[in-house]
Amino acid sequence: MGTVIEYLNQEPWRFLVSFAAVLFLTLNLAAILTMSERKVAAYIQGRYGPNRVGPRGLLQPLADVFKLFTKENLSPSRADRWVFLAAPIAMFIPAAAIWLVVPFAPGAVVADLNIALLFFISITSIGALGVIMAGYGSRSNFALLGALRGAGQLISYEVPLILSMLGVAVLAGSLSLVDIVAAQDGGFWNWYFLPQFPMLIAFYVAGIAEIKRIPFDLPEGESEIVGGFMVEYSGMTWALIQASEFALMGLISAIGATLFFGGWQPPFEFLDFGNFNWIWFGLKAALIMFSFLWIRWTLPRLRMDQLMDFGWKILVPLTIFWLFITAGAVLAFPSVFG
């Protein structure tokens, strides 16, 4: 048995097996998150949520996936077919690809890139492209409005997202996520959310805008443009877009947990589980995911001009200001900030 693992550890197989594992993780995460979203929404609103399929409703994701498989993939007659069908794929790429650089446990990372943060930023912008392709491809006024809103929002909220992550990179001195997590070991007082608290808020808000969830729900303005860029999709294409949205939500919370809450570092020394530290990583990511769900079922939606003002006039100045403070602190007290 041991030799098989060594054999698999060689380069060609190791990448294939880990990529299959990552894809498996992304799709399952999307399914579980749809189920948990409906359950959290129901519990907030005083009802039970899905509890008919399987014990207490746990097989509901399976039922959803099976339903979406059997649904017909319609595409509007005047739609630009290739762009219409390429859009969900373009949206799914960031959700699947970025898991490669996320450190789950000590030594358990698919590809330890030393420019992991740069990789994360460049791949998420493909998602913005996917939204525009979906909106333009479906040739309907609602989709067009949704796409233009999506373009404006996603691209202009990448700026505060990047700036908020720079603070952590300045502190850790490297762009690789493994080094960032390593730099946060020791108790939770070493984690970066304490020195970088405003950056955490900016990252969190820009993260919500990046995954297009309420209160930054405008590309898919449910009650105004009835589903925005997703309005003409059905069946598996729609399922792919929903899966990518939920996987991206899981991803943003995973990256947030890695950057600000010390990835798989235990909060106290004695709670260290060695190789099983991925439990801490999962717990932190799950808490952030729950907060996304919790916000979605409480707040109303912003308007496009307010969304832009909030992004450019409040988040960007805040992050730039705090970036200077961090950089100044690192220069002034090199010993303290490593």
């Binding site: 959290v40 129901a42 519990y43 907030i44 609103q45 005083g46 009802r47 039970y48 919790w294 916000i295 079922w297 409480t298 707040l299 909030f310």
Partner: protein, 176 residues
């Protein structure tokens, strides 16, 4: 933003409180709520008390009650009194307004607590109460005319349509 987010946080606090509260939805098929005493469900007719006065047929706004009346000496008192041979209530048209229940002199038509009226064919929704099935597809509108006895059901014009209807009605009789 006018304030600094207290309103948003207060709202979040309320939804978090709701997260742990007891749920209020009832699981319908397993738990059926007992309906209050006056609730108006499907209509039913107590045929032996019905004196075929056709009041309910006249007052019904949607013309869903159709009665075939005959002179018959049912209780052996010598005199032939009107007797309801055919009585149909077309549930696909009834709006449960209970005007018929109020207008019936002998209170033989009343609401039950049954509310699940579903059928695969709109004709099955027409429930027959008398001996002879009455054709629900003909509008008993003449019943509303003043002082004139309601005309017999209008003769059928399109035979072909009536044939299909008759077949559907007889089919239902064999099924029950």
């Amino acid at each position: 933003m006018p304030q600094l987010g207290q309103g948003v946080l207060k709202g979040m606090g309320i939804t978090l409180k709701h997260l742990f509260e007891k749920k209020i939805t009832r699981q319908y098929p397993e738990y059926k709520r007992e309906l209050p005493e006056r609730s108006r469900g499907l209509l039913t007719v107590d045929m032996d008390r019905c004196i075929a006065c056709l009041q309910c047929m006249r007052i019904c706004p949607d013309h869903c009650i159709s009665i075939e009346q005959e002179k018959r000496d049912a209780d052996g008192s010598g005199k032939a009194k009107p007797y309801a041979v055919g009585f149909v209530i077309d549930d696909s048209r009834c709006m449960y307004c209970s005007l018929c229940v109020e207008v019936c002199p002998v209170n033989c038509i009343y609401h039950t607590e049954e509310f699940e009226a579903q059928a695969y064919n709109r004709l099955e929704l027409a429930r027959q109460f008398g001996e002879r099935p009455v054709d629900p597809t003909v509008d008993p509108k003449p019943a509303v005319k003043k002082k004139k006895k309601p005309a017999k059901n209008a003769p059928k014009t399109e035979d072909q349509r009536a044939a299909t209807v008759q077949r559907a009605v007889t089919e239902k009789d064999e099924a029950t």
